[in-house]
Amino acid sequence: MNQKLLLRLVISAVVIILASCSAPATPPQPIQPSTATQAIPPTATRPAVPATPVTDTFIIAHAQDLTALDPHQSTSSADVNYQFNVFDTLVIRGPDMKLQPNVATEWKAINDTTWQFKLRKDVKFHNGEPLNANAVKFTFDRELDPNEKALTASAVNIISKVDVVDDYTVNIITKSPDPLLPARLAFYGGSLIPPKYWKEIGGAQAFAKKPVGSGPYKFVEYVKDDRLVLERNDDYWGTKPAWKRLIFRPIPETAARVAALTNGEVDLIVAVPPDQIDAINNSGKARIEGALYAGFYAYVVNVKVKPLDNKFIRQAISTAIDRKAIVEKLWRGRGAIPSGAYPLTDITGFDKSDPPLEYNPEKAKQLLKQAGYNNEEIFIEAPTNYIANDKPLTEALVSMLKNVGINAKADLMEFSVRQQRLRDKQVKGMMLGNPTSALFDPDGMIWRLSQPDAFYDLGRWNPDWDKLMTETRAITDEAKRNAGYKAANKMFVEDMPWIVVIEPEQLWGIGNAYTWKARPDELIRVVEIKIK
């Protein structure tokens, strides 16, 4: 009996562990992962159902639950959407991704390392406490206090200190010249918190149970893995949202999430994989909204392993990829082909006149010959069930590379194993990633992720690039900054340290009763959603 029991227990433990290899689940990520498993067939044959009746509650279904109600303790997509409906930031991006005043009415650099922000005088937290210069100082002091262990600290750690000039003016001093500071404050890490309430309630732990912000919605209730309930802040200083209640629900399974939308149970869903576009658009109840991803899907090359240390091999790989076919077939036309190191959505750096990355199998073969390629094995590594099409993309790539005579091999793994490989620089060949940044500037994505010591740094490939990027990031003048980045992109395309493949559209499904424009930074601000 005892042996049998032990066996049962071990089996059940192993089942739980093995389940991690097969069951579709979603790790918390800054980017919405999608678990494209079971496709629901298009429902075109069904008669159109009348649009969802508009109620006083708006329901958003994410793929994951929230992980933290403390706005400085998470960067996962569901949490960031919560942050941007409950809290305010100094600066915010409009639907066009241009920076707009929010709590700060204006800002300017008063010297190389000091940005001055003037605040609105009519902003109050949900507890009635005024949002003033003191609250701004308190927010960043708290976030950067090592004892607070804030996970968003790395988004604002360029700040050295905050000075209160008067009740409604603050100076934010940076460690080095930083033209991007206002942009940094417009994303996670920028959520402002109430100092008086914070102290009254007794700090982070208690605050996370009953969070108070100054945004368009107030916190009501949170039931783990089930729902987050928010209520409209009728005293909100800005545009008031159309719904009295806003509910977040986690629905991890893609098919169930899509069904909940077409069924009218929820109003907006995130992380729709491309194979569900028709099912949603043909439902008669909801439609797809897409926005180009503020980043791209790229394979980060380990430039220290043979034969990938040879740039001609890397060029050959890039030239062998039929990106147009990938956009058309895997993403149903919803995506674009990048031209180098910067996504098309970048406001600075990206140059429209640069040609998209080239596909030319004959040239690829020639480059291989030139590099003296000797049929060495090249590993194409990717996590599965992490981002839309991660597995099919990798498989497609392997066959395209084989077509020009590259001995490519797919190596697929669980997401957290991928993270470990990147951390330990144990990437055998090249690893799929979905680098992105909400700064819309090369400093936000390519440089932050590939600079020495960064997560995607798998070895330096060109000291000139490092020098040029370091110099350019401190330039405040827009034209000079653009020129620097343009030169850097030429180097990048020549060296190909990342094999950039596609800038896909991120997809959402929304009920037909509403109008909404999806944002490249993937935020869902309910004040931007309107009833038709």
């Binding site: 029991l5 433990a13 389940a19 783990k224 089930d226 991890p252 399974e253 194993v417 997560f455």
Partner: protein, 315 residues
Amino acid sequence: MGEGGVTKPMARFILLRLIRTFVTVWGVITAVFFILRLSGDPVSLLLPPFATRAEQEALRVQLGLDQSIFVQYLFFIVNALRGDLGDSLYRREPALGLVLERLPATLELALISFALAVVVAIPLGIVASLRPRSLQDHVASIITLIGQAAPTFWIGIMLILVFSVTLNWLPTSGRGDIRQLIMPSVTLGAYAMASIARLTRMSMLEVLRNDYIRVARAKGLKEQAVILQHAVKNAAIPVITVMGLQFGILLSGAVVTETIFAWPGIGRLAIQSIYNRDYPVVQATVVVTALIFVLINLVVDLLYTVLDPRIRLSK
């Protein structure tokens, strides 16, 4: 079974069981502890992608993950003995609390599924056994075949397609309303139902061949009495063993079902925590699940003695 003689061996039996339980849970948790840490990295999952290696190292130190695995294990065991299973790396609150919070949802789902499975399976198995190879037997065997062969996630998604998307009768997911309980419990119970029904049929067929059944019939007892009083009771022992096992399988099946139907139970918590490498939460889930398993086994063993006094508790 004399009333006076039962207590002492029973007490000894339970005590022995408790000691074994302790050893078993320790073995399982040790295996899980080391297997979990073989691959994956919670720190790079926690921090934003642009966090530097230095920032990652700092968090690693803060979470105690910089220590050698054996030191971590030692700390874990010492704390576990004091009833402290650690804090979730993500939620920064006690892992055991997170599991216990979700336990009612899983138990609710498992119990309802189980009840549903048993209520359907036993009559189905009996009916099938009464006329082997008849139409009713074939129909029953087709039903059980589907229940055993169809993967849980497939059943779940098909139910959503039919009852939520097409017919719009039931909500797709969530917990709270009784209507939200229907599809998950059918999905989860399908496999157990099929297994129990098949075993009931087999066990009944075996019992019905016995001489005492023939004697009972020869005595002129009504067929109904023969089946219900003599056959079913004797056929029940293997069925109860399997039911105990099936309940355990239900708990692991909850992983898939809870994910499909967004049911806030420990299965979903477990899978999410494995993905996130939230070690303390996975460990707490395993401890709690293991204890439930042990408890079920204990109940099954005690039930044996009630059903068949010939079975002794000693070994």
